[in-house]
């Protein structure tokens, strides 16, 4: 491979041809500061913070977009470089509200951190009026808030929405000081083709895009003695929340999470993993039924609400491919106000059902009109991992000293198959573990389905299940989902079963997870997820005794009448910019009750 020799800050080094100055400098231990740059997603030289001096060049060069050349001499620390960076920062700050103390991103803000690192001591340029006002804040979405006052126009959100998710519901509008990153036609995010995935909120360097903060609702419920407040925790939260308290990414902290929720005062702490196991039973049986009775194939998973909104908008003609299973969050919600209420003799009207999710789209899902099969809104409020951490910090939880505690019955027991729902490929692996044994009535020789694990965008595997060759595919990110869906539309997809997760890496990389979330951190959370699976005594959903019990006591049969009513749902063809013509109002079109 061709290399180039250059000098950076008097250090001679050899790097691969095509390397940017930014990456080359890393090799000698210099992290050139950036605000708009994101590896492989956004290298546009827009923020001008990464400028360096290149000998012989007319002006300072943006290190993120300037490739090294043979014999290049670079200074990353000269007076001109430092002065330019500081001036740029000062100018950005001059149009930025100085309200760090009350910002959701206080102490976790790249603009703030950079101002601190550069010892910005004053902002000399004060604009008579800033470009955007509080009236421009977009509160329309149940998932995401846009505050254009805090936007530094780095375009990271636009890049992730376009290049990772293939949606691009926001773009730069207007020009000059009037520029605003926004949906078209002054609409709110709730009115446009936003999947609510929240990846934009993960990459925003400031507080311009954040999750909707619902902690106030939960505090009010916890303070209300007439409410029975219960909580469920998603698989991906337990491998990420410790990061909010300074622990290494991927630390598995299931027991501490349960203890922390009890400290907050929840009346019952149960687990979404229980309904993840239940999903496998229902979805596995639905799959077997579709294969044996000639149903629509490939069948596609339906756990990820950002993915569901995306297919409803972009591929409404393919909705019959979706499993009719509700997501584990919504199965839990429906059972909490029926099964659990009956068993505990609690009036379901007094139950306040909270879920802790790695996901901003779950907030949207909980508010969907049709997810009210208990007779109430099945899940009352959704908190992201970040919001839960905020509540715990508020009451001074010392994470490291928390004991490990167990979930409450009857929806607290789960298996390794449920834990791996949090990683891309996990739902498929969990389903295969069960479907194999249900069909063949034999133990699966190796339950680790490694070909569907890992960060590759689209993964495939073929398995022999009895007489059947089952072909499966797994995709994460909506951009990769689109590739599979186009194959289905073209009639070129001969898969039986497809798992799709909206976010990169699956839910462990969800839009509600701790910031930062990057490739390295995603890999660590995935490793933690598979470790949690291996450490659990039961690793197959159909071997969960609590699942056997709920069918015996309450549900009856998988795909039976009660399951059909409480655990399955329908989907809504939405279209991208307007309602599609010639499609039913919902799919499946019959009443699912």
């Amino acid at each position: 491979m061709a290399t180039v020799t250059l000098t950076i800050d008097n250090v001679k080094l050899e790097v691969e041809q095509g390397t940017s100055i930014l990456d080359a400098a890393k090799q000698i231990g210099i992290n050139i500061p950036t605000l708009c740059y994101m590896k492989e997603i956004n290298a546009i030289g827009a923020c001008r913070i990464c400028v360096v001096e290149v000998q012989g060049a007319r002006a300072l060069q943006a290190a993120c977009v300037t490739p090294v050349t043979e014999g290049m001499v670079v200074k990353t620390n000269s007076a001109a470089v430092r002065a330019s960076r500081k001036m740029t920062l000062e100018l950005i700050q001059s149009n930025h509200p100085q309200e760090c103390n009350t910002c959701l991103r206080n102490n976790n803000c790249e603009l703030q951190a950079l101002s601190e690192a550069m010892r910005l001591t004053e902002i000399r340029f004060v604009r008579p009026a800033q470009s955007h006002s509080k009236d421009d804040i977009d509160n329309s979405s149940p998932s995401i808030v846009r505050d254009p006052r805090k936007c530094i126009l780095c375009r990271r959100c636009v890049a992730v929405c376009e290049k990772v998710q293939g949606v691009k519901c926001i773009s730069a509008v207007n020009r000059g000081f009037e520029t605003i990153v926004a949906p078209p036609f002054d609409q709110g995010l709730n009115d446009v083709n936003c999947a609510m995935c929240g990846q934009c909120s993960l990459v925003c360097p400031t507080g311009a895009i954040t999750e909707v903060d619902d902690t106030g609702k939960v505090w009010r419920a916890l303070d209300d003695p007439s409410k029975h407040v219960l909580v469920q925790t998603a698989p991906a939260v337990r491998v990420a929340i410790a990061e909010e308290f300074g622990m290494e990414p991927g630390t598995v902290s299931t027991g501490k999470l349960v203890a922390a929720l009890r400290r907050l005062g929840f009346d019952s702490v149960m687990d979404t993993d229980f309904t993840a196991d239940l999903t496998i039973i229902e979805e596995g049986n639905e799959f077997i039924k579709r294969v044996t009775e000639g149903g629509v194939l490939p069948m596609i998973t339906s756990c990820s609400p950002g993915w569901i909104k995306y297919i409803e908008m972009y591929y409404p003609d393919l909705l019959a491919h979706l499993s009719t299973c509700k997501s584990p969050q919504q199965m839990f919600g429906a059972l909490a106000k029926t099964f659990y209420a009956e068993k505990k003799a609690i009036d379901p009207a007094s139950i306040y059902s909270v879920s802790i999710m790695p996901c901003t789209a779950k907030k949207f899902e909980a508010q969907r009109d049709e997810l009210t099969d208990s007779g109430y809104q099945d899940v009352d409020v959704v908190l992201t991992t970040r919001e839960l951490a905020r509540m715990l910090r508020e009451i001074g939880i010392d994470w490291e000293s928390l004991p490990d505690e167990d979930y409450d019955a009857p929806m607290g027991l789960s298996t390794g198959a449920a834990v791996i729902f949090g990683a891309t490929g996990g739902v498929m692996e969990a389903a295969v573990r069960t479907v194999y044994e249900v069909i063949t009535k034999e133990a699966m020789p190796d339950i680790n389905l490694t070909p569907v694990r890992g960060m590759e965008g689209i993964k495939e595997a073929t398995l022999k299940v009895g007489d059947l060759e089952v072909k499966v595919a797994v995709a994460h990110t909506l951009g990769n989902a689109r590739k599979l869906l186009d194959k289905i539309r073209a009639g070129e997809a001969d898969y039986h079963f497809i798992e799709i997760m909206c976010c990169p890496g699956g839910c462990i990389g969800g839009g509600g997870q701790p910031i930062p979330t990057n490739l390295d951190i995603r890999l660590k959370r995935i490793a933690g997820t598979y470790k949690a699976d291996e450490d659990l005594p039961i690793r197959k959903s159909h071997e969960n005794p609590a699942i056997t019990a709920i069918y015996e006591e309450f549900l009856g049969q998988p795909l039976g009448e009660k399951s059909h009513k409480l655990l399955h749902t329908h989907y809504v063809p939405r279209g991208v910019y307007r309602k599609p013509e010639g499609l039913p109002d919902k799919v499946p079109s019959g009443d699912h009750h």
Partner: protein
């Protein structure tokens, strides 16, 4: 599409031909938008949605382009486009007084169109004719050395 055909149908056909020519091709974005602006005098929302769908360009990008270039307008334009220069020379020679009178007579603020669609009034920066400042143009026709007194006489020429 719900948009009415207020112009002649040959022009609508020209638009349809452009949509067909650039189907799935984002390179045609500016060409198509310019044609819509020419046919309708502005960019009706329905046509921008159609542009996004036909060319396969995100609507947010279409809207971003529409709001970036001064040549595009998102609101209906009047039959007569009145541009007043507010460049430095025109400004010091009294253009602000002309602006006040124009806004009074039309009953609108600059940047808008009269309810009867008779006039659109816009402020521009330096038309390069500083020797005859302040300069007013109506539909491209140049009126030199404008004063507040001349405004009514000129507007009366345009129905």
């Amino acid at each position: 599409m719900g948009a009415e055909c207020k112009c002649n149908c040959d022009q609508e056909k020209k638009l349809d031909a452009l949509f067909a020519q650039y189907k799935g091709n984002s390179n045609g974005l500016i060409v198509v938008m310019a044609a819509i602006q020419e046919v309708h005098g502005y960019l009706p929302k329905d046509f921008l949605v159609k542009t996004a769908e036909e060319l396969g360009v995100p609507l947010s990008d279409v809207y971003g382009v529409a709001t970036f270039y001064a040549a595009f307008s998102l609101r209906p334009r009047g039959r007569h486009c009145v541009n007043l220069c507010l460049g430095t020379a025109c400004y010091v020679k009294g253009a602000p007084d002309v602006q006040t009178i124009l806004e009074q007579e039309m009953g609108i603020k600059a940047g808008n169109t009269t309810e009867d669609r008779r006039f659109s009034l816009d402020l521009v920066r330096c038309l390069g004719a500083c020797g005859i400042a302040p300069v007013l143009t109506v539909n491209g026709e140049v009126y030199p050395r404008m004063t507040a007194e001349k405004v009514n006489e000129i507007l009366a020429k345009y129905e």
